[in-house]
Symmetry: C2
Subunit: 225 residues, 2 copies
Amino acid sequence: MKQIEIKKDILSAHEMIAKENSELFKRKGTFVLNLMSSPGAGKTSLLERTIELLKNTFSLGVIEGDIATSYDAERINALGVKVVQINTGGACHLDSAMIKNALAEFNTDRLDTLIIENVGNLVCPAEFNLGEDAKVVIFSVTEGDDKPFKYPLMFRLSKALIINKVDLLPYIDCNIKRVIKDANSLNPDLRIFEISCTKRKGLNSWKKWLEEEINKKRNTSLPDE
Amino acid sequence: MKQIEIKKDILSAHEMIAKENSELFKRKGTFVLNLMSSPGAGKTSLLERTIELLKNTFSLGVIEGDIATSYDAERINALGVKVVQINTGGACHLDSAMIKNALAEFNTDRLDTLIIENVGNLVCPAEFNLGEDAKVVIFSVTEGDDKPFKYPLMFRLSKALIINKVDLLPYIDCNIKRVIKDANSLNPDLRIFEISCTKRKGLNSWKKWLEEEINKKRNTSLPDE
């Protein structure tokens, strides 16, 4: 019993800091994405493509979450975008306190969009709000079409689903229609984009959605007190 | 401080039950595998191929771990092998108590090999001993060649690494030599098998290794008291 109470306290502390982060982002008009997926589904590749699409129009920042290494941060750094690497040491997800600490490294007055790449894990990251505007789940067609119902929380809580690596469809057995149907039955409001990051296909509608969301958030920013 | 102590208690309870499981397996001479990987790397396909390879020689049992659904158990059931499905409800890994409960469903006197398929997750399952003889990490070449150093614990603790989906290598950018080099630098004793489960390639050396391990374990079983 005691154990459960303690868990509740930890969760509400995380939620409290997530709310603080969220209020800061609202005040500054910063649109914040939380990219989540299995290892190797293409989060960093999507980030690279997204930076290419947006960096001439918006000021961007990136937070990279990894258990170990700074491989991903080096890839983002090469594109000339400010990036902060969080190494969780072993923890299987980012949390709101890690994000709050990382925010100290950014000039949040000049940030239209912050993109957070979570630890590669289709389970735990969904359970922790970071204060973001939109969770985005990236699914690779190589993972097989049974995944939405096997990992339902991630699909339920996300605003957008990227179906990535569609260029590999001719070589594998994956029924995209089933993925879309199952994902939509878990979450009817889910926006779905079919993309190949490596072949740069299907990126236009993703770009359009992001631009709309970024502009919406910018327009609701509050004046500094 | 209190929180940390409680965590210790939970871990040692898990370890205690893992030890009980391990002792039972030793007494019965049952060789136990714990298959771990990212979602969609091919654990269930490997299981299907492994069952085909072994079922005429050995008596097999399977425990399926999933957050939700019994899709995988249905696939195994179709092969005529006894399978028990554990649905964790949300938990991102199996633990030794779940295995102990599931064991009640098997006749452990007649089980040469038990294969446990863990929840799809390249992080958390590695932290929980189940009482198994060998952890096996399945890595799909579609995940990219940087994964061993990004998820080091899984590779460090495993006895064997299956590099799966090698039939897709012509269509993607993955340097297998780097995977092997990095995995071996984390774990010099790691046995590595390059396999395509869907194309049934590279399975012979995997079969040979399993037969050796199963026979070794059978020979060290203790007489019933």
